[in-house]
Symmetry: C2
Subunit: 329 residues, 2 copies
């Protein structure tokens, strides 16, 4: 089959990959649409030493499931952590934090920038028929954004800031807007500002933030500067949600966190079922975030576009190569 292949920080297109064979616990999925995420770009920069097919945001159809034949034909998306089911975390019900986890397209498990992928049946979620492929492919990052609402109790009276309006910052902003909080998003690039405007969310410049005034600040830049800014604008006893990973160690004044009794909440993957329900019930217009849809054969070009500053979601579409074509906006 055709698929992208990451090795020694180099990405290539391969046409000789074997179609993987599902075990009794796994399903074989034919990928309909896959999304490029910041983590994929970081893998290419060496964030984690992964060799294989990257990619973890997808929607597809089950084509084989030896242990659960009823799933065949279902349109699905899936959780990205492959849990061992036996460690302390798994026994606590924290499979997402399995101590021996593999991660779809990130660690020790091949990903979705290919014609087919595997996933444990336990990881799959059916996609409601009302949700299009172009919406369903956002399930994983939308779930990650939704995790904020799981972790922090946000009131309609809260002043909330999101720093950074990239892929995840925008989805965080959309989720936060559901709480009716007083929301401001620091957005630098015009495409993101346009989308926020369309969603009725206030976009501001960094220098429009007032110091020590936000109840909750979501840091979605993944930069030391973003974290510093968050620390400056959060109110005493407020909450900073860390929504991005950072390259290497970060140096900062943690004493200020103690003196101001600020809480830092690390936030990662979230509830797929909730994200799918929201896609079904709220019908967010996420299509404006799609900067381009590339056939899998042009996957390298898709990555080139995704790397550009200010570019939001780039999708990759396996399938009939004749039919597929560049659908970039």
């Amino acid at each position: 089959m055709i698929g992208l292949w990451l090795q020694d920080l180099g990405l290539s297109l391969r046409k000789d990959l074997p179609v993987p064979e599902p075990s009794e616990r796994e399903a074989l999925i034919k990928i309909d649409l896959a999304g490029i995420c910041g983590t994929d770009l970081e893998l290419l920069r060496g964030y984690y030493p992964f060799t294989g097919t990257p990619g973890h945001e997808f929607v597809g159809r089950v084509v084989a499931a030896p242990g659960a034949p009823g799933l065949v034909g279902q349109r699905v998306t899936g959780e990205i952590t492959i849990a061992c089911g036996e460690c302390d975390s798994c026994r606590r019900g924290l499979q997402k934090h399995c101590l021996h986890s593999r991660t779809l397209g990130i660690r020790d498990y091949p990903g979705v920038f290919a014609e087919y992928c595997l996933l444990p049946v336990a990881n799959l979620h059916r996609v409601p028929s009302s949700v299009s492929d172009e919406q369903a492919v956002f399930t994983e990052p939308l779930a990650a954004a939704l995790e904020i609402l799981d972790q922090v109790h946000i009131l309609p009276t809260d002043r909330v800031a999101v720093i950074g309006a990239g892929r995840l910052g925008l989805l965080a902003a959309w989720c936060l807007s559901l709480t009716s909080c007083q929301l401001s998003v620091v957005a630098r690039h015009q495409p993101s500002r346009d989308i926020l405007k369309q969603w009725g969310v206030q976009a501001i410049d960094a220098d429009q933030m007032a110091s020590t005034s936000y109840d909750v600040v979501v840091e979605a830049t993944g930069s030391a500067d973003g974290l510093k800014m968050a620390a400056n604008v959060v109110r005493p006893r407020g909450v900073i949600v860390l929504k991005s990973t950072y390259q290497g160690d970060i140096t900062f004044n943690i004493s200020a966190m103690v003196v101001n009794e600020v809480t830092l909440v690390g936030s990662r993957c979230g509830p797929f079922d909730g994200a799918l329900r929201l896609l079904d019930s709220q019908r967010p217009d996420l299509s404006a975030m799609i900067a381009g849809i590339y056939p899998l054969e042009q996957g390298l070009a898709a990555f080139d576009l995704a790397r550009q500053r200010g570019v939001l979601k780039v999708l990759v579409q396996p399938g009939d190569a004749q039919g597929a074509g560049f659908k970039g906006r």
Copy 2:
């Protein structure tokens, strides 16, 4: 009056200090007993550029209160933040986080290593008659330790570790033991281990901690190493309570906090009323923490003792110089 005086990082004993005059909102307090805290030692190292009488842990008697004459004669202790009452934080009820605060013996307000001090009447708490001076002088640090229970919901089934068994670590351990959680305290020095044993709390070595296994970790060392250790032993989705300030910036791997969805809670001052109720009802034996009681005239020697490694609480006692004497253990 006699008092200690901090200037240009040097501490001296002065006998020419004027007895301060209370405003309509303040009380004049005759100090019975005052405690040396880690923050006092940090002030001497330049943590904050303070000139004046340091000290903020005390018990004393009100000798004048122009606006509240009924207080005269009462035995009191007091909250250390002098709030403006008008800023955003004060209007939110977060006077401890007043944006224009002064702090008793730490910032812009003279402290308690003297025969007399002032405090706003609103800051005072009466000490129950059952609580001795030697217990009451622990009210402020005990309240700070108690703040942990205010901020984190700790269950009897939780595994909790305290890293560091200095003054604050020990008090944190005592407060945590009230929750019946499964508690381990990393303690290096024998005096602290002896006290923990007396309280029925398990003392362990750093290398006895299991990785990713504690629901809550209280970092009470104020060192980068302590924070690193806390990050290693907290479980995914667990909580690290930061109970100490740190000198300068700290460099650490904040991505691990994100990936493991760890929450960092900055924790500082706590509830005085609660601390006094516990001193009254639970009668903790804190006397073992007292390494020495020095008359105010020997305040410099008291600081010399407090600076030594493994030494816990050193108290300073103004009052009749003839009667007072070294009561060190």
